[in-house]
Symmetry: D3
Subunit: 122 residues, 6 copies
C-alpha cells in the first residue's frame, strides 16, 4: 500500500473513532472545518491554497498532505503550487523547508498516481 | 496622527535603520520579501490573502496590519476578507480571535479613510 | 476607565462587528468556543484552567486576560492559579514568563476590584 | 514490541544519556518537570490534563503520548479525555486534529493493554 | 521615564509578586533561568546571543528587550548583533521582522543611553 | 543504510526537485540560507549554535539533525552542545525535550561515525 493511501486510511479510522465518542463540540468543529473550504466569494482552489500555506507556516505535515491532495483535486498547477510555497517560505523562514520538501514529495506522488490512472482523493 | 499612520512611520524608520546597517543577507531578504507578493501565475490579491492568513495563524499583529492594508489596495471585498478570516480561524483556533479582531479593526480604519478621501497605503 | 474595562469594551465592540459581517462559519465557531467551557464531566473551573494554560503556552495576552477573569468568576484560589502557571512555565519555558507576569497582573486587578466591591466580569 | 513500549524505551535511553552528560541545569530542569505534576492544591489528574492540553495545542506527539499514559494512570474516563480534547481543538484549531488523532490512538492502545492485563506505565 | 526603565520596573515588580506567591517550582525555575546564561565553556556573550535569537524566532518582544540589554552589557558590536539577527530572520522568516525592528529599536536606545552616560542595566 | 545517510539523501533529492521547479524566489532564499551561516564577525561555530538553538525552540527535528551535523563539522564539544541545549530547554520548556533527545541521538550517531572513520557531512 502506498504512503498516501496509508495516510488516508489512518486518518479515516481515527476520525471515525473521535466522531463516535459522542462529544458534540468536536463533531460540530469537524463540520465547520469542512465548510470553511467550500466555494464562496473566494474559489475553492484559493481556499485550499490558504489552507496549504497556513499548514506550511504552522508546520504540520499531515495537514500539508491533506491540502496538497485537495489542491490537486482543484486542479492546481506546479507553478501555482511553488508560488504559494514561496510565500510560505518567506513568511515562515527556513524552518518551513522540511515541510516544503514534504509538500513537494506529496505533489509528486499525486502527479505520479494521476499518470498511472489511479485516483487521487482524500 | 492616526494609528495606521503611526504604524507606517515606525515601520519605515526602523526598516531604514536595519537596512543601513550594512548586513547584505538582511538586505536581500527584504528584497525577496517584496517580490514574493508580486503578480505571477497567482494574482497579487491571492498572494496578499495568503500573506494575511499566514500572518493570522502565526498571530503577528504588525504583519496583519500590513497585509490588511495591502489587501485593501488590491481591492478586497468585506466578504472575501471574512471568508479568508474564517479559514484562518478554523486552522488556527480561538487563539487567533484577538488577531482577527485586530484585522477587522484595521479593515474598518482603511474603509473609513477611503470614505474621507484619505490615502490608504503602506 | 481601568484597563480590564477597556479590554472588555474593545473585545465586545469588535466581536459585534465580526459577528455582524454575515459569515456563518465564524458565527458558529464563536458559539462552539463558548460551549467548550461549559460544565460537563469536567467542572467549569477545570476547563477554564485548561483554557488559561493553553493560552499561556501559546502566549496570547488577550486570551490570558479573558481566562484569568473567567477563573476568578469560577472562584480560583491564588494557590491553584500559581500551580497551573507552574505547569505552563515548565511546559512552555521562560518565553512564557512575560505572559505569566501579565496573568499575575490581571489576577491582582481582579482581586482589587472585588475588594472594592466592583464587578469582575467579561 | 508494541509502539508504546518502544516509545518508553527510547525515551528512557535518551533521558539517561542526557542526564549523564553532567550539565547541572538540565538535570535540575528534569527534576522540576516531574514535580510540577505532583498532587498539590490541584489534583494530579487535573495537572496531567493541563499537561495534555498544553502538549496538544503546542502539537508535540511525544509529549501527548506521555501525558495520555499518565492520564490513564490517574484514572481518566473517555468522556473527560474528549472534553479536554475539545478545549484543545477549540483553542488550537484544526491544526491540532492530527495530534488529537494521535492522542485518541494512544488512549485506545492503553485501554487495550489494560483489557489484556498488561501494564500501562511510563 | 523612558521606555526601557518602564519595562525594567514592571518586570521587577511583577517578578517580585510571582516569586512571593510561595510556589517552589516557579522559584526554582527562575533560578535555573538565570544560571543558564552564566559563563561556562560557552562565553556569556554567546549564551546571550543564543537567548536573543531564540527569543526572536519565538517572537517575544519582552524577552528580546531583556536579551538585547544583556547583550549590550556583554559588549556586543552592531555587526555581531545584525549577523545574529540575520540568522534569526532566515530561520524564522518575515514574521520575525517586526520583532527585529523592536530589537534594533532597543539596541538604539541602549547606545543612546551609553552616549549620555546613563546606566544600561536590567 | 544508516538513518543520517537516509536523511541526507532524501533532503538532497527533494531540494533538487524544489530548486529545479523554476521559482526564482525560492532559489534565492536557499542561497541566503547558506550564506547566513558563513564565517563573519561571528565565527561559523557560533552561527551553527544559533541555528541549532533556534531549531530546537521551534521544534523541527530535520533542522536539528542538519545543525547538529554542521556543529560536529565545526568541532563542537559535548559540553558546548549541552550548554546550548540547556539554554534551548530553559527558553522553550519541556516541550523541547523530545527534540533535545533527538539532538543527543544525532550527536551520538555522529560521534560513532567519526570513531569508525566514516564521514560526517551533509
Amino acid at each position: 500500500m502506498d504512503e498516501l493511501e496509508e495516510f488516508r486510511r489512518y486518518r479515516e479510522r481515527m476520525n471515525k473513532r473521535i466522531l463516535s465518542a459522542g462529544n458534540l463540540g468536536i463533531k460540530r468543529f469537524f463540520a465547520l472545518d469542512t465548510r470553511a473550504y467550500e466555494e464562496g466569494v473566494l474559489p475553492a482552489k484559493t481556499k485550499e491554497l490558504l489552507g496549504l500555506v497556513a499548514s506550511t507556516v504552522l508546520r504540520c505535515n499531515d495537514c500539508i498532505t491533506y491540502h496538497v491532495i485537495r489542491c490537486v483535486e482543484e486542479g492546481i498547477s506546479d507553478e501555482e503550487f511553488f508560488e504559494a510555497m514561496n510565500v510560505a517560505m518567506i513568511v515562515g523562514g527556513s524552518i518551513t523547508i522540511p515541510h516544503i520538501r514534504r509538500a513537494a514529495d506529496v505533489l509528486g506522488q499525486c502527479r505520479e498516481k494521476k499518470r498511472k490512472g489511479q485516483p487521487v482523493d482524500i
